[in-house]
Amino acid sequence: MRYGYFPGCSLTSSAKEYDISLRKVTDKLGITFEEINDWSCCGATSAHVTNHKLSAALAMRNIMLAGQQGLDNIIAPCAACYNRLIISQNEVKNHSGIRKETEDLLSVKFEKDLKIINILELFLKSGLNKITEKRKRELSGVKAACYYGCLLVRPAAITKFDDAEQPESMEKIVEATGAYAVDWNYKTECCGAAHSISRRDIVIDLSKKIIDDAIAHGANVLVVACPMCHTNLDMRQRAMKRKYPEHKNFPVLYLTELIGLSLGMDEKDLGIDLHYSNFKYADTLMNNSAKG
């Protein structure tokens, strides 16, 4: 089985640390993948609301390239990319009209049926016991609130992965790192997503609620698997503090970063220093662990 890797635009820019930590962690765990040659944008949030044909073609182009490269699977770590790829693939598979249109547009025939997998599936299927085996750092003091957001496990009928309303797969991974996953209520609530820039007020309120609920349930870190969520929850904390003065900086980590920490990697190596909120994650978490 050959994994293909579709980083998507965010992972090369605002979420560079996600890309860095993913590569580091998979390398350590012995999971190998090949980046899709000449990949392009998946269409993201804008394409499918403006031009349906375009959104299908953008996503299918990447899937087609991966197929031509002889890959069987595509890992899409960004939740939005994952969502776009799997939905477009499903549309093309089930609607001969769209299929033909897209095929004509790209002047190819879609033959290979690739499996699109998200970051949770990747670790769940091929890394869970590897993480436990190679664990170096004690993380028992880490009380993580696993945040899925809207896209990671939805729509259930297409992803056919985990429970869309009450997912539990990230918790399993977090527990494999030795950290404790808290039971909380906002794991699938919206963070405001693409309103990040245009409606900052909505984002701040929604994100704040998420962080507050995590704190209320005893969490000391928020674990995410989506660049957009991370942006909203991490970058907007300063604005939150302006609106709600009592707000305190709360750590938000990518899942891969948490795994990296558990594997004993350095914060810098994992790119954690690129986060907006200055937070000495490793120290704090380790201290907690030592105490706890």
Binding site: E165, Q166, E168, T188
Partner: protein, 665 residues
């Protein structure tokens, strides 16, 4: 063999495009045909008389009638043949009307086809063998599985018709779910008040043998002749001695180790218990899993207090065998426990609703117990967690039902009504309380049902919100119900004190294994399949086994009761004769050449194929062959085509006959 050929004109229906005279004339030239004639109306009295006279006059052995479809008049002509002394299966019909004259215009072509059809029938009838109807004796006793309202009704109806009934219930008492209910919609009369008299009637009925705390182990045989093995589980109480005084129960020191399943786990029960005060029979059961005696060998308090020596710690399960002629399956339903999640099950659970996590989130039956006057709160609406009276109550309908993404696509049918009823009861008991109902649609089809729901909305001010709930979580002692009001197009949040989930009705856990034991098909959920969705809704596809109540699909009480009565009448119809007459179109194995591969057994939809040992002169089994039980075989013939060595023949459609038809093409 002397064959008589009769060609019917059917007025002008056949003769307008088929030259009937020519057909009849030509048939005379076929070997074996003794007499051939055409006539205007063969099915009329004079026509039938013509046939009968010809049979006598020409001493015919078989007849071929060229007329309308056999589905129309096959019986008519067979009866005519029988009254003239010919076996009814020595009659063949050539379908000259529906398959010939009515569908072709050209006289030459249709006459030609008519002749060929006649020729095929003549060739077939030459190979026909006289068949006699199969008579199967009938044991006039019925087994009812399940002692809920459906089982009770079926048992009473059958017994009152004069037949013996064996009623098997796996719980210590009959009564089923209906005994747990508080009031019933749409009349709001007390459930136990109407049920208890019927339970007592069952208990006292001379023709009903009640076997509670018992389960069906095995069913063998076929319609009219089932042999049922029943395991009667050990109660550890001698039923003959026990007077039902209840002293053992009150003295039992183990008070809080076992949940009371009758109270839907909202209360505890002692190690020796009756499920509920009105239980039938009123004989306790000792729960081995919690009783101190079984753990340490000590205690024995009940033994000491019982002055009738009814306590029997050494009692073992007993096996009982009953011969019955019919089986009525009325095993009912259970509620979908949404707390449990299992990857491979079709029941995926609803973790987001917090059921099982928060004590004040209840399912429908739990709320029934809370609302019931005999329940753990004596009918007062209180929160199980802290005993406070909830001031705001949220009801959520369609939890599990009508949700493809989580597995169950069907509608559980009763939830709309009972939720309205429960909200109404709450409003009657807590006057300042608010009741919210999240619904998808309100399905209130039934006599006085819609009026009932309107009453809840209009008189009792129950607030209906159309929309699904995405999550329920606790915040400061309240339960935040997050959902959407699809009419207002707004997200809603209700901070309720208590939430009642109308979880789906699903079959009993062991429905599938019971179905396999008794040999009836079931759907992917485990509901038993009826023989025909419209015309045979209370029969299973296995002859002699009938269905009643919610084991077939979600049903409310009146539907269950009517289905039970229908099932009972089916059994009574079966018992109206001493023997059962069956069409002789059944398959038969030639044991000499059967190679014993049992492919026939694998393809038989009715389980009619059995293994038979063939012994040599010394009594040693030297091969196994297939044997087809004539009582069970329905005559489809799938086995005959599957059999590689052609050791099976279907009477009435045997291969020789079909080959003759092909040859006569």
């Amino acid at each position: 063999m002397k064959i008589g050929v009769f060609v019917c004109h059917c007025g002008e229906n056949i003769s307008s495009t088929v030259d009937c005279l020519r057909v009849a004339d030509l048939c005379k030239s076929y070997s074996g045909v003794e007499y051939s004639v055409d006539y205007k109306y063969m099915c009329s009295d004079p026509g039938q008389k013509l046939i009968k006279e010809a049979i006598h006059k020409y001493d015919l052995d078989a007849i071929v009638v060229g007329s309308c479809s056999p589905h129309m008049h096959e019986r008519t002509f067979r009866n005519a043949a029988v009254s003239a002394g010919i076996n009814p299966f020595m009659v063949e019909i050539a379908n000259l009307r529906e398959h010939c004259s009515w569908v072709h215009d050209e006289i030459e072509a249709s006459t030609r086809k008519a002749i060929e059809l006649m020729r095929m029938a003549i060739e077939k009838v030459k190979r026909d063998k006289p068949l006699t109807k199969i008579n199967v004796p009938v044991t006039k006793r019925v087994l009812v599985i399940g002692g809920g309202i459906a089982g009770i009704q079926a048992a009473l109806d059958t017994a009152n018709a004069g037949y013996e009934v064996v009623l098997v219930e796996k719980e210590p008492s009959i009564g089923g779910h209906m005994s747990q209910l508080s009031e019933t919609f749409p009349t709001l009369d007390c459930s136990q008040c109407i049920l208890t008299p019927r339970m007592v009637e069952v208990h006292q009925h001379p023709r009903i043998k009640l076997m509670t705390y018992s389960e069906v182990e095995r069913v063998e045989g076929f319609i009219g002749n089932f042999k049922v093995t029943i395991r009667k589980k050990a109660r550890h109480i001698n039923e003959e001695n026990c007077s039902g005084c209840g002293l053992c129960i009150t003295k039992c020191p183990i008070k809080k180790k076992a949940y009371n399943s009758f109270e839907e786990d909202l209360a505890f029960r002692p190690a020796v218990y009756v499920p509920f005060p009105q239980a039938i029979p009123n004989i306790p059961v000792i729960d081995e899993t919690v009783c101190t005696y079984y753990k340490t060998g000590k205690c024995g308090m009940c033994l000491k207090v019982c002055d009738r020596e009814a306590i029997d710690f050494g009692q073992k399960d007993t096996i009982h065998v009953a011969d019955v002629g019919a089986i009525i399956v009325a095993t009912g339903y259970k509620l979908y426990n949404i707390e449990k999640k299992s990857e491979d099950s079709i029941y995926k659970g609803y973790g987001e609703y917090g059921y099982g996590k928060y004590r004040d989130i209840l399912d429908g039956l739990q709320f029934e117990r809370i609302a019931s006057a005999s329940g753990p709160t004596s009918g007062e609406i209180k929160r199980p967690s802290d005993g406070r009276v909830p001031k705001k109550l949220a009801f959520i309908q369609c939890v599990g039902s009508r949700d493809d993404s989580k597995g169950i696509s069907y509608c559980s049918k009763i939830c709309c009504m009972y939720t309205a009823k429960q909200a109404m009861l709450y409003r009657h008991k807590v006057h300042d309380g608010e009741a919210y109902i999240f619904y998808m649609d309100i399905r209130a089809g039934g006599k006085m049902y819609e009026e009932f729901v309107r009453r809840a909305i209009e008189e009792d001010k129950v607030k209906y919100i159309r929309g699904r709930v995405s999550r329920i979580y606790e915040e400061n002692g309240k339960y935040i119900v997050k959902g959407e009001d699809t009419i207002a197009g707004m997200p809603v949040e209700i901070d309720a004190d208590m939430v009642v989930l109308a979880t789906a009705m699903i079959p009993q856990d062991d429905a599938g294994s019971l179905a396999r034991k008794i040999g009836i098909p079931y759907d992917k959920y485990g509901f038993f399949n009826e023989a025909h969705p419209k015309l045979r809704p209370v029969e299973s596809t296995t002859a002699g086994i009938f269905l009643a109540g919610a084991c077939q699909s979600p049903k409310d009480i009146p539907e269950s009761v009517s289905m039970a009565s229908a099932a009972a009448s089916k059994a009574i119809i079966l018992f109206a004769n001493d023997t059962l007459e069956r069409e002789p179109v059944v398959a038969k194995v030639n044991e000499d050449i059967c190679a014993g591969c049992f492919y026939c057994m694998k393809v038989c939809p009715f389980g009619a194929v059995e293994v038979k040992d063939v012994k040599d002169m010394n009594g040693i089994v030297y091969k196994e062959v297939a044997y087809i039980n004539q009582g069970v075989c329905q005559g489809c013939g799938t086995c005959t085509a599957t059999c590689l060595s052609k050791s099976i023949e279907l009477a009435g459609f045997n291969n020789e006959e079909i080959f003759a038809e092909i040859a006569a093409l």
